[in-house]
Symmetry: C2
Subunit: 325 residues, 2 copies
Amino acid sequence: VSDRTLCVIGLGLIGGSLLRAAGGAGWKVRGTARPGTNLTAARDAGFDVSSSIEDVLAGAAADDALIVLAVPLPAIAEVLPVVARHAPDCRLTDVVSVKAPVAAAVARRARCARYVGGHPMAGTSTSGWAAGSATLFTGAPWVVSSDEGTDPLVWAQVATLALDCGAHVVPAGAAEHDAAVARISHLPHVLAAVLASSGAGGGPLALALGAGSYSDGTRVAASQPELVRAMCEGNRDALLDAVDDALGRLGAARGSLASTGALEATLRAGHQARLDFEAARAAAGEKGTGTIDLSARGSMRRLRELGHLGGRVVGLQGTRCQFQR
Amino acid sequence: VSDRTLCVIGLGLIGGSLLRAAGGAGWKVRGTARPGTNLTAARDAGFDVSSSIEDVLAGAAADDALIVLAVPLPAIAEVLPVVARHAPDCRLTDVVSVKAPVAAAVARRARCARYVGGHPMAGTSTSGWAAGSATLFTGAPWVVSSDEGTDPLVWAQVATLALDCGAHVVPAGAAEHDAAVARISHLPHVLAAVLASSGAGGGPLALALGAGSYSDGTRVAASQPELVRAMCEGNRDALLDAVDDALGRLGAARGSLASTGALEATLRAGHQARLDFEAARAAAGEKGTGTIDLSARGSMRRLRELGHLGGRVVGLQGTRCQFQR
């Protein structure tokens, strides 16, 4: 029994990259997917994969593996009872882009699982095993859910997986994660779709003139709409808040433009926000470093505070998290 | 007197690039700007420039040069009377991002000028002489106004300048141009500002998680807000229509998400629009080629029809425009 044994359910972009990245980092990895191109490609690449989820889960239970749900949100409800039946006590995580709905599904359908949610923030505009790579997670944020009551040992193992894959860990409560990604991931997809349609509404002349700003602003609209839809609709409540926020800001811009002709407030606030975003990326680690001991009281609260302030966990030794702010 | 003599007023990103590109293509070029870094840099680069707009315009009148207004929209009203005084009969064009307001200003303040508006669709996120280059216009669309009553000879000279700078010419009526750029240039700036602010409203956690979609969708918010503001506010009426279009689409998405939880219509339409945009860029010229004779009756109408359908002029021999669709 190794403490770095991984069982990946689903071998698409994320699951397939996970198999490669964790395997490359020395984890014992095994995977399962429905028969199809992803499964065939993984097998051809030499990985230990099988279309029998039951067999793979039985092996995971025997090895005390960390199980990763790497299927789209709509398939989670279907997979969880199978996990509960064949590997009821295993440590469990996922890579779905919303955390509260998955946690609720786990509580309903796999009560005994030792679950800690995860979300590696990497790649959505392509999909499938072929689009993945061992370096997909390099430098990416990987959210690990840090709500009260989280088992620190499971948290540590999920964080170790993320770090071994080259990511850094951003701790957050499930609801706080969902609110944040609604704003910086799901809302951008909705606005890109709106912008693409508004531009195309200008006919061939408008499209012929579309360059930098239109091309950048609509890039993610090239993503597979089914995947984007599952992601956005799965975070409905938080996304509604984000859309309302954007509607309010766009309506205010409209009112100001119509009445006084001025867009200064809108453009200046947006410019400052973009500069803040660029500065936050450039300054990671500059505000200080430190450690949080997972075995200490209040460790989950401290982790959430760290993430709330824009910090990240960049290393883990035993139960001690090294963080940067 | 050469038929390729150019007088550029304003030596920022566009004016400075124009001096370099047209000069490199064999035009006799001269420029003017207020004393400052742009003027100094142009002089240091060996160009014939002066801070005396009067002297430069007198020279342009003597040489029968094509004069280009390369100042921001708010400065146009100030420069036009000077042009009218010192070079009243010269051929005149501009590079401002709106066309109807400039045409109206010319009609008011420089009635005798032989004016045909222009708009090279290149670069807005940086500014100043130093940010320009001789290749800024390579492969870019350059709109040349083609309203009824346009003097074909002036049109031809503006088009020649655009082609010599490596651009292709997109013919359009001034109002049609303004409506199109509102959708694919000005609306993207407004939405980028809204998205940047909505994301930053999620605090440091949200910014720490911002990646592909947020970064792409907010990129143009890094542009100088003063320049963006002048551009957007100068196209107020058309931009209001575009913002209302976007508000309607975003409101519809909100309603659908709130009622049935579905975003399919929004995302599918946006995805198709993005594919149409990519296809339009890839397919330029595939639907056919031909010529339009500028000296024939109805040539401006034919040019506008060409632009309306997504076509472009790619060559000019005498009065014959070679076009692609």
